[in-house]
């Protein structure tokens, strides 16, 4: 095959529509004459009758801004990309066109029918909007539900307290016990709602990152939880993590509270450390408690999951779900390492800006 023939076949067989125009004089908008079209162009809606004709012979095309764009390409010598909606046989087609000059008077147009691509993009964008809306609604729902459910709960608690107060010593032992269980259940539900509220807020709002000192946050968490029999040990050379301070605080509070709550010995130590890596910084909270069997590692991150009967533990089963949601909303992740005794909960905090 001769090189000229190879060039011709490349032009002819390319799956991209190709048109070649020559701008005849006088150089008016209508005087672009089509001198070549490939088979893909015909497939995409260019017709054989147009070949050899000036744009002036196609009033509908002349009425668009396309000829002016062509003229501008030849005037400036700059390639140009644009999109065009064009009706062909009653069907609206979306074209993407690239045109560039060849010499001073010739113009080449590459174009594809991107109707399908555009439809897909639009439907994706629509679904994304719907998803965002339903996520927002879900968050709002969790927030409103947990907030509004607290009020009747408070009433129930008050009423139970007053009944016990008013009956005083006339209370039968069973009734006294029932009232005390009733109040305890109400308190439990109140904690659940608090945690649900915390969960729905987790990862909301703008994430402002700053240089957070691990030791400082641990001190604050300690002051908040006031562990009676547990020691919290910061065991790392690195102290600073660049992250949202509130996010680190909530994650540490939940993990340390968990470690204390689930320890099966009267006292123990909880170790906190930072490890930089290529992905970002790992924040580990390690305890010496009973450990979590590997088959439960995935389960414990789900909402409302606990591994112990509700009566034995004050856990709402939301701590790790909150940790996971926060880590993920910061672009990181949370995972568990535990085999036998002791558990490490590891959260990854990516470098800000890297995604």
């Amino acid at each position: 095959m001769l090189p000229a023939e190879i060039y011709f076949r490349v032009f002819e067989r390319s799956p991209i529509g190709k048109l070649v125009y020559v701008w005849e004089s006088p150089p008016e908008l209508g005087s672009f004459r089509l001198i070549a079209q490939n088979s893909a162009a015909l497939r995409f809606g260019s017709s054989r009758e147009e070949l050899g004709q000036p744009i002036a012979a196609n009033p509908r095309l002349l009425a668009t801004d396309v000829p002016a764009r062509y003229a501008n390409v030849l005037d400036t010598g700059e390639p140009h990309f644009f999109e065009l909606d064009w009706e062909n046989d009653g069907r609206l087609i979306h074209y993407e066109l690239q045109c560039f000059p060849v010499g001073e008077r010739h113009l080449v147009v590459f174009f594809t029918d991107s109707t399908h691509k555009k439809n897909v993009e639009e439907s994706l964008a629509r679904r994304l909007r719907e998803l965002e809306r339903s996520n927002r609604e879900l968050d709002d729902f969790a927030y409103v539900a947990s907030h509004d459910l607290k009020s009747p709960l408070r009433d129930i608690h008050n009423l139970a307290t007053w009944i016990a107060e008013d009956l005083g010593t006339n209370l039968a032992p069973d009734t006294a016990r029932h009232i005390s269980v009733l109040r305890e259940r109400v308190e439990r539900m109140d904690r659940l709602l608090d945690d649900l509220l915390q969960y729905s807020r987790a990862g909301r709002g703008p994430q402002v990152t700053e240089q957070v000192s691990l030791r400082e946050v641990v001190r604050e968490v300690e002051a908040l939880l006031r562990p009676a029999h547990h020691e919290i040990v910061v065991e790392s050379d690195h102290d600073v993590i660049e992250a949202s301070r509130v996010a680190v605080m909530v994650v540490l509070r939940n993990l340390i509270a968990n470690a204390i709550k689930h320890d099966d010995r009267p006292n123990g130590r909880i170790f906190v450390s930072l490890t930089p890596s290529d992905e970002g910084t790992f924040l580990d909270v390690r305890d010496e408690g009973p450990g979590i069997p590997p088959r439960f590692h995935e389960r414990v991150f789900r909402l409302f999951q606990t591994l112990r009967p509700r009566d034995e533990s004050s856990s709402s089963g939301m701590g790790l779900a909150i940790v996971k949601k926060i880590a993920e909303s910061c672009g990181g992740r949370a995972e568990i390492e535990s085999n036998g005794r002791g558990t490490i909960v590891r959260t990854l905090w990516p470098k800000p800006g890297a995604s």
Partner: protein, 142 residues
């Protein structure tokens, strides 16, 4: 002559909370009379002597829930502060809302105190701490 005791205009639509205030008063032997209004509109009717209600005579304080039907506590406060006759009313806010925004709005409207309703299991300690002390001081200065 002894001036009359300070009455408490309680603006609260939840009857359990209304009873909670009465019980807390009784328990701490606070004998100031309590007048109920379910929302801001009813509170204004008491304060202005409208809708066939007797006008509440001074001295009084207002203990208002933020979230009541028809007219909430903040709206009531705005109404009071723009009324030349009522603008010097002493108002305590009584609410479950710990929203910073509500708090700031209340502060700007010059509230005497912001009392959080008791959390489950905590009791009405704060109410008595804040309000009881205020009423005591009023009592002593009579």
């Amino acid at each position: 002559m002894k001036s009359p005791a300070v009455s408490v205009l309680l603006v609260e639509d939840n009857e359990v909370d209304r009873e909670g205030v009465r019980r807390a008063f009784a328990r701490h032997r606070i004998e100031n009379p309590i007048i109920d209004a379910v929302d801001g509109i009813e509170a204004l009717e008491h304060l202005r002597g409208l809708a066939g209600r007797a006008r509440l005579s001074r001295p009084y304080i207002v203990l208002a829930d933020l979230n009541t039907p028809r007219m909430g506590g903040l709206e009531l406060l705005r109404e009071l502060r723009s009324d030349p006759e009522l603008r010097d009313s002493v108002v305590f806010v009584f609410t479950t809302s710990c929203s910073e925004e509500d708090r700031q709005s209340a502060d700007q409207l010059d509230v005497a105190g912001y009392i959080l309703k008791n959390e489950v299991g905590v009791g009405s300690v704060r109410l008595i701490e804040v309000l009881g002390r205020y009423l005591q001081v009023q009592e002593l200065s009579r």
